[in-house]
């Protein structure tokens, strides 16, 4: 059973692609909990929504490619610009003039774009464990470059980050990847949840979504970060094995924002340390003033 039911739900359709959203709560200001990589859908915010909705109007939507949203085919459908446009469409549909944007991991790719290109719609932005191409360690850059290469025999670890492997054994990749997300001991429930969400989509869709990261080069993302003027907060786990902590440090510096390090946390602390993350989001939003 869900902790709270949505006060409103709806859908926006752009170019024939439908994205479904929910609104919880009604108090100002509005928060948009952005989609991240389509490996998961909006339920990954399940530990934030009930709390935040008691204080704010909280919008969330399933990113295209998972959940109740469409799973278009073709790389172009998964361009970061499309996710950003979906966000604006949801804000328009709910008459949300301005909002605080909260993103996790790959969600930074569209969140930064909105901050830079639509500053009048953004009150502030929180980036949790952001993926920051201009601060990629060389190994990560190399890994992404090999995405379309053949799979080695009996791949282990990050060797599974290949389109061909996903086609062959997507569930095994999911299990591996999510195992790297929750590096904290005693994370079985978070692991199970994330695996279940990941299996709601399919390998072909997931392969297409990789396009978003490919076009988000260091240069593109750096330029976007330099244009951010709103208050920002980066929350980053010190033991994040997906997006290294140094990436959060770099983004906080580049956007002149605050950095809160979660010592001992892995990737997606909003699922593993929900209380602290909830309080940090609240503190940031309250600190924006009326």
């Amino acid at each position: 059973m869900r902790a709270v039911v949505a006060d409103a739900d709806g859908a926006v359709t752009r170019d024939g692609i439908t994205v479904r959203y929910e609104r919880h709560g009604s108090a100002a200001p509005s928060l948009v909990l952005l989609p991240t990589w389509s490996l998961v859908h909006a339920r990954h915010w399940k530990l934030q929504v009930p709390y935040l909705a008691r204080h704010y109007s909280v919008l969330s939507f399933d990113g295209r490619g998972n959940g109740r949203s469409d799973r278009p085919t073709g790389l172009a459908a998964y361009d970061p610009a499309e996710f950003a446009a979906d966000t604006l469409a949801v804000m328009d549909a709910t008459e949300t003039e301005r909002a605080v944007l909260v993103s996790v991991s790959r969600g930074v790719l569209w969140s930064l774009r909105l901050c830079a290109e639509h500053p009048e719609r953004v009150l502030g932005a929180i980036f949790i464990d952001p993926i920051v191409p201009f601060a990629f360690p060389p190994a990560q850059r190399a890994l992404l470059a090999r995405f379309d290469e053949p799979v080695v025999e009996d791949p282990v670890g990050w060797e599974k980050y290949k389109a061909a492997y996903w086609k062959a054994d997507y569930p095994d990749f999911v299990d591996f990847f999510i195992g790297r997300m929750f590096t904290e001991p005693h994370s079985t429930k978070q692991h199970e949840d994330a695996v279940a969400w990941a299996l709601e989509t399919d390998p072909a869709t997931m392969i297409a979504t990789n396009h978003g990261l490919r076009v988000s080069t260091a240069e593109v993302m750096g330029r976007l970060a330099d244009r951010v003027r709103c208050p920002t907060l980066v929350i980053h786990g010190s033991r994040d094995a997906i997006c290294r902590h140094s990436q959060g440090v770099a983004l906080a510096e580049r956007t002149r924002g605050a950095l809160v390090t979660l010592e001992g946390s892995g990737h997606c602390p909003h699922l593993r340390d929900p209380v602290r993350v909830n309080l940090l989001i609240r503190r940031f939003v309250e600190g924006l003033g009326r």
Binding site: P185, L233, A258, V260, E263, G264, S265, G287, L288, R290
Partner: protein
């Protein structure tokens, strides 16, 4: 002593009337604090200014009619136009283009008017116990208001609020009035303060202001004023407010769309009586309306955290520093993984630095309690109970620093060696507690000095009663309470009034560590070598006179110097070493004879070594030094500071139990008597009880149980 001195104090002058203001601190937005002059003045904000000024530029104004401001005679001088013009002039002079205005009682309409007419200058209003005719006043005001100018026979109670009664004898009014306005138990200090500020002006001014004031008491006018305010408003109002009913505050919040915080059980002066809560409400409001950008930091997952403790050592005297360092050494032995930070002030920090201990940087924000105590003392006299009461604003200021530290610091354990602020304000605001709390003290119970009469006995009993009630109601605030001593060290007195005996209560509420010495006294066979090293010869009778690190001891030193010639006559071979300490210039001491047997020294490194091998010591009545002498089995004379209840009762009782030292009365000790006492005791073997040497280890074990 004030907790925080203003950065700038000045006046603005309009039509020949000077209005005093002060500026302190920095940070946006600025805050403008307006008291309800002239019955009080800006000092009424003393519980708020030190805290708020650490985060904001704070401007306070005395207001015409009291404090450092002029007291114009004409009623017209107190009209709202004049007051409004004063406030703008102060804002201009202080360079405050925009501020959150914080006002009390009948200063609230002034603040609202400022907000309405100068919306660009006021970003928010905090209205404490607002005086606005938005709801009927309590019935007790009706008759005095109607008969203000009548001659009333033999007035009492609220009827004292009368022109003729004031002219005849004004003080009974503020005494009655503030008694009514502070219905909270244990408000003696707030009451004394309020009455004294009221008496800082004169009755003619009070009458002129009252008759010149044009407050919006009419309902329509008051509502119109509220509706004209566009900025955010916070109303703070006590339910037991007998000056302004809470219905007025409620209505103000409704009409302005503001927030109302009702303080259940609070009277009319919550900023005085509940300074911690009011400070936090104001800060929260200001942050909310103006924004408070997030600062980064580190939060560590629970299971990844090292165990951490914050140790607070009372800064009054150096004795606590040495004993706390001894406890921490033992604690580290028992719990090597424990990380310990210190929140401490000078002179404790000098000891800690020498020991390589980690001092929390927020220590720099603490107001100095030691300097306050020095400022409260004069010739061998320190009324330490009253000095502690007058330290109230320093305790609030330092508690607010402490609270910020523990809210950010993720401490598992807080150890407070006589950290009065922490213990008191956590009991007053129990929802603020963070971490386990160990309370340590070497005495329990305030005791009245005989010459304080019944009133002082009432005050000490009231303070004791509050402490007893605190602990009965919130036993969870002290996770451990350690008495530095033994049950027999506890005085045989009661807490006063109908309160229990101190010993039985203390035994029920404390664990006992035994005495904690900061050092180990030398074995008897080590003494000759130390004496030789220090240059004390076998044919000399060495008398060391020392007064510790404070400046309080000059009078005693000079008394001993004056007694030296007589003493030398009685005690051949007497060598008197007078240690002036770091705060007294040896050259400034008067009456120095030119005698090779008398020498005066400034600061002496490791003074305890001299004390532990001398033939006689002469000291004040402080616990640490006298117990060092008891532990070293030295004969000594001690002169308790006059009016110092701890030295006169608690320490003396303990020394009597050990059979150590001879207590001397400073006032009646003339040179002859002192010389005789020196001759009686110098070089005598002492046979008193051994002082335990395992106190630090026992205290550490009690603390370690919580870690």
């Amino acid at each position: 002593m004030r907790a925080r001195q203003p950065d700038r104090a000045d006046v603005v002058e309009r039509d020949g009337v000077k209005v005093a203001y002060e500026v302190v601190g920095q940070g946006d937005p600025g805050l403008f604090l307006i008291p309800s002059t002239p019955i009080t003045h800006a000092r009424s904000w003393k519980g708020l200014v030190p805290y708020l000024s650490r985060h904001h530029l704070v401007v306070t104004v005395d207001g015409r009619g009291n404090g450092g401001s002029d007291r114009p005679a004409a009623s017209e001088a107190y009209g709202p136009d004049e007051v409004a013009a004063d406030h703008l002039a102060v804002l201009d002079a202080a360079g405050l283009t925009r501020a959150v205005v914080i006002a009390h009682c009948h200063a609230v309409p002034w603040a609202l008017r400022l907000a309405a007419e100068h919306a660009d200058r006021v970003s928010g209003v905090v209205a404490i116990a607002p005086a606005l005719g938005l709801a009927p006043r309590d019935e007790h005001w009706a008759e005095p208001t109607r008969r203000w100018a009548d001659e009333v026979d033999d007035p009492s109670g609220w009827a004292l609020c009368n022109r003729h009664a004031w002219l005849q004898d004004y003080p009974p009014w503020p005494r009655f009035f503030f008694d009514q306005l502070l219905p909270e138990a244990h408000s003696t200090k707030q009451y004394e303060d309020a009455v004294s500020w009221a008496l800082d002006t004169d009755v003619e001014t009070m009458i002129a202001e009252r008759e010149g004031r044009d407050a919006p008491n009419d309902l329509d006018e008051a509502e119109a004023l509220c509706r004209s305010v566009g900025c955010p408003v916070l109303v703070i109002h006590g339910t037991e407010d007998r000056c302004q009913p809470v219905a007025r505050g409620r209505r103000l919040a409704e009409l302005t769309g503001g927030d109302l915080v009702v303080l259940e059980g609070a009277g009319h002066l919550p900023h005085g009586r509940e300074p911690v809560k009011v400070n936090r409400l104001i800060k929260e409001f200001v942050d909310r309306i103006e924004g408070a950008p997030m600062r980064g930091g580190v939060w560590t997952r629970g299971l990844d955290r090292p165990k951490r403790a914050l140790y607070l050592s009372s800064p009054i005297g150096l004795g606590h520093a040495r004993r706390d360092v001894a406890v921490v050494k033992e604690l580290k032995r028992l719990r090597p993984e424990l990380e310990i930070d210190w929140l401490a002030q000078h002179p404790v920090t000098s000891v800690l630095e020498a020991e390589g201990e980690r001092i929390h940087p927020a220590s720099a924000w603490l107001a100095n309690e030691s300097a306050h105590m020095a400022s409260e003392s004069c010739e061998h006299d320190l009324h330490c109970f009253q000095a502690l009461r007058r330290m109230d604003e320093i305790l609030v200021a330092n508690f607010m620093v402490f609270q910020e530290v523990v809210e950010e610091g993720l401490y598992d354990l807080i150890v407070g060696d006589e950290a009065w602020d922490v213990d008191h304000f956590w009991h007053e605001n129990p929802e603020l507690k963070r971490g386990d709390h160990v309370w340590m003290t070497d005495f329990v119970g305030y005791l009245p000095m005989p010459d304080g009469g019944e009133h002082e006995a009432f005050l000490t009993a009231d303070y004791n009663a509050e402490m007893i009630e605190h602990i009965a109601r919130f036993p969870r605030i002290r996770d451990a309470a350690i008495f530095v001593g033994n049950p027999d060290d506890i005085v045989p007195d009661t807490f006063g009034g109908d309160l229990p005996g101190i010993r039985s209560w203390t035994e029920a509420h404390f664990a006992f560590s035994g005495y904690i010495t900061g050092f180990t006294p030398p074995d008897p066979d080590e003494v000759p070598a130390i004496r030789a090293e220090l240059g004390y010869h076998d044919d000399e009778q060495v008398c060391v006179v020392a007064v510790g690190g404070s400046g309080v001891g000059r009078a005693l030193l000079e008394k001993l110097i004056a007694a030296y010639p007589l003493a030398k006559r009685r005690t051949p071979g007497l060598r008197m070493v007078v240690v002036a300490g770091p705060r007294i210039d040896p050259g400034s001491l008067t009456g120095l004879p030119s005698d090779p047997g008398l020498e005066v020294r400034g600061y002496v490194d490791r003074l305890y070594r001299h004390l532990s091998v001398c033939d006689l010591a002469v000291v004040q009545g402080g616990l640490t030094t006298t117990m060092e002498l008891a532990a070293a089995k030295r004969p000594f004379l001690y002169f308790p500071l006059r009016h110092h209840f701890e030295q006169n009762f608690h320490v003396r009782h303990r020394l009597d139990r050990y059979g150590a030292g001879r207590c001397m009365d400073y006032a009646t000790s003339d040179p002859d008597l002192i010389a005789a006492a020196i001759a009686d005791h110098i070089g005598n073997p002492v046979a008193h009880l051994d002082v335990e040497t395992d106190g630090a280890a026992r205290a550490a074990r009690l603390i370690a149980e919580l870690v």
